[in-house]
Symmetry: C2
Subunit: 345 residues, 2 copies
């Protein structure tokens, strides 16, 4: 008789961890849902948000974490340091929180050039200043050469929630609209292009940026936001599918309304990628009631000039995301099972 | 003219990161002090505590992080999962905080056996339950085979501070006494022995355990604690040197009062280690006024039967730690410059 319950991931299917288990698709969902949540499960974790929101005396707080393993460490438009700050700032913002404090855990590989570390540390400092957060606690570990990959960074973040809204996929209802803050696909294609050594006529830079400002603008205007999601691993599609499944609603997006830069479209064709699935690091969707859409867009456009409406929420078919193409045909969007772009963040 | 200031670690001394930069000694202090703090510096980070303590409306909160890279993943007396929970619980406890919520960031290496991950996840769940904390938010990344080492875990923790004490090295004053909760050196020697494949007559198990209970017992008794420190990387000596230097006091310890099990002493001799420098994962010191020492020991002994007084704080020579040996001779204890035991936690 085994002392512990048997592994909830069928070992016949996956005896070992695959790259796809970190890809933001179905396999990662399975690992988190069946294994991690079965052991750690509690009402905060089960909320499946970008972070946990809980009361602390009279305040409400948000708490989130992300590890960053992006390869290469430095890429057009950013580096692992700015990514590690902006990514966690954005997870707090997506909880509707004001980002306040970050922790920083470095896992350094023996032999990492000290100059590289210095460049990344300065980049983190600049990103923290831009986002108005303080790095208040940290940890440094070094692993032997060949047991890491230069540098991994974990940041956790604490923020303050100054409203009583329940900003989550479950709050999305038919009649809502989907707002997007800008063009898709730059982060993922910039990383892939630099990894493959590709040069495009116009160089593509990551969209890595903090997203606390558009969120605060909407909250300060008193808008009852239903859901916020940044479009990282799995891209726009994964965010929409997760919302449609959780809220049991239908989401329809018009492809003509979703901006993708010409050079990104070209790079995606060359690399065999779909911009709807590519990771972004400065892109988000906000889901609000139709009646609040214009005011929400006005708030977002103060810092996100390209913000626009890209889709709408209806009742049926529940749990499904559809997209109408350039030529008017409609197809179903599903989450990828695996890994489109390993180590993109 | 360089766009950024030059690297504050002299590249002629250290052009690349060394294992010793993560060893808890002088080199790590230099990296953190000269590089990280020069960029991230703020009053919370500069406090150099195990975690940051800050107000949140009417409450005071503590926030901390640690990454865990211990090798091997599973060792006598624990594994990387229980370590990742207890280590962060203990950092919160050392801030005088009640540990509440943890985040968990996994960096998995492609090919990690799913059964190993499952065992470690269950161990984390059990440790969290024992310590009364909830894992409320998480992140999973997978790196390609050969770019990690099975599994790294980062946990960050949030706790609540229910008192107005300033528990920190700076609060230590002449006339204080040093209390220790048990025998030294088990975690480090257990790891090293299992790594070297050594078998001792009595097997040595890690002391990995949560330390929130002795801290709460002392706080609930209303004792004005001056300083708390868990004895991880760098062991008892590093903790004492840090306190002596920060508070500009002299700390004297009597070696006869510091318990080290016979099998640990033997293993240390065989491995060339000094138990005063070896990492522990369930050991702490509390620094209190002489007049509070007996009551503090009484509180600690509710869960730590071996707690005892091991030393005293005086004025001169300021910044120095001394130890009297078994035969009565006195010598100076200094921090190691480098790495006694790489990847011990």
């Amino acid at each position: 008789m085994p002392l512990t319950p048997s592994c909830p991931i069928p070992l016949s299917d996956y005896p070992t961890v695959q790259l796809a288990h970190g890809g933001g698709g179905k396999l990662m969902q399975q690992l988190i849902g069946k294994m991690f949540r079965s052991v750690f499960g509690n009402e905060l974790l089960d909320a499946e948000h970008d972070g946990a929101v809980f009361p602390m005396d009279s305040a409400r707080m948000a708490f989130t974490t992300d590890s960053y393993v992006v390869h290469p460490l430095i890429f057009p438009g950013g580096d692992i340091g700015s990514l590690a700050v902006n990514g966690t700032v954005n997870d707090l913002a997506m909880c509707g929180a004001r980002p306040l404090y970050l922790s920083c855990g470095f896992i350094l590989e023996e032999g990492l050039p000290m100059e590289t570390l210095w460049q990344i540390v300065q980049s983190m400092g600049a990103a923290a200043e831009q986002a108005g957060v303080k790095i208040v606690t940290g940890d440094t570990k070094v692993v032997d050469k060949g047991k890491g990959d230069g540098l991994f960074i974990n940041t956790a973040g604490v923020g303050r929630v100054d409203h009583d809204l329940d900003i989550s996929p479950a709050s999305v209802v038919p009649g809502d609209v989907i707002l997007l803050n800008g063009d898709l696909g730059r982060h993922g294609t910039a990383i892939m292009a630099s990894r493959e050594g590709l040069e495009f006529e116009t160089s593509i830079e990551s969209d890595c940026a903090p997203l606390h400002e558009p969120v605060h603008a909407m909250l300060e205007a008193g808008l009852p936001l239903h859901c916020l999601r940044d479009l990282t691993r799995g891209g726009l599609t994964s965010a929409l599918v997760e919302i449609a499944e959780t809220a049991a609603v239908h989401i329809h997006v018009d492809k003509n309304d979703v901006p993708v830069r010409e050079e990104v479209r070209g790079a995606c064709e060359l690399l065999g990628l779909d911009p709807f699935y590519v990771a972004n690091e400065g892109r988000m969707i906000a889901v609000v009631a139709e009646t609040d859409a214009d005011q929400a867009l006005e708030c977002m456009r103060k810092t996100q000039p390209d913000a626009r409406r890209i889709g709408a929420v209806s009742k049926d078919p529940a749990g499904r995301v559809t997209v109408s193409s350039e030529i008017g045909a409609t197809r179903i969007l599903d989450m990828l099972s695996g890994e489109q772009l390993p180590r993109i963040c």
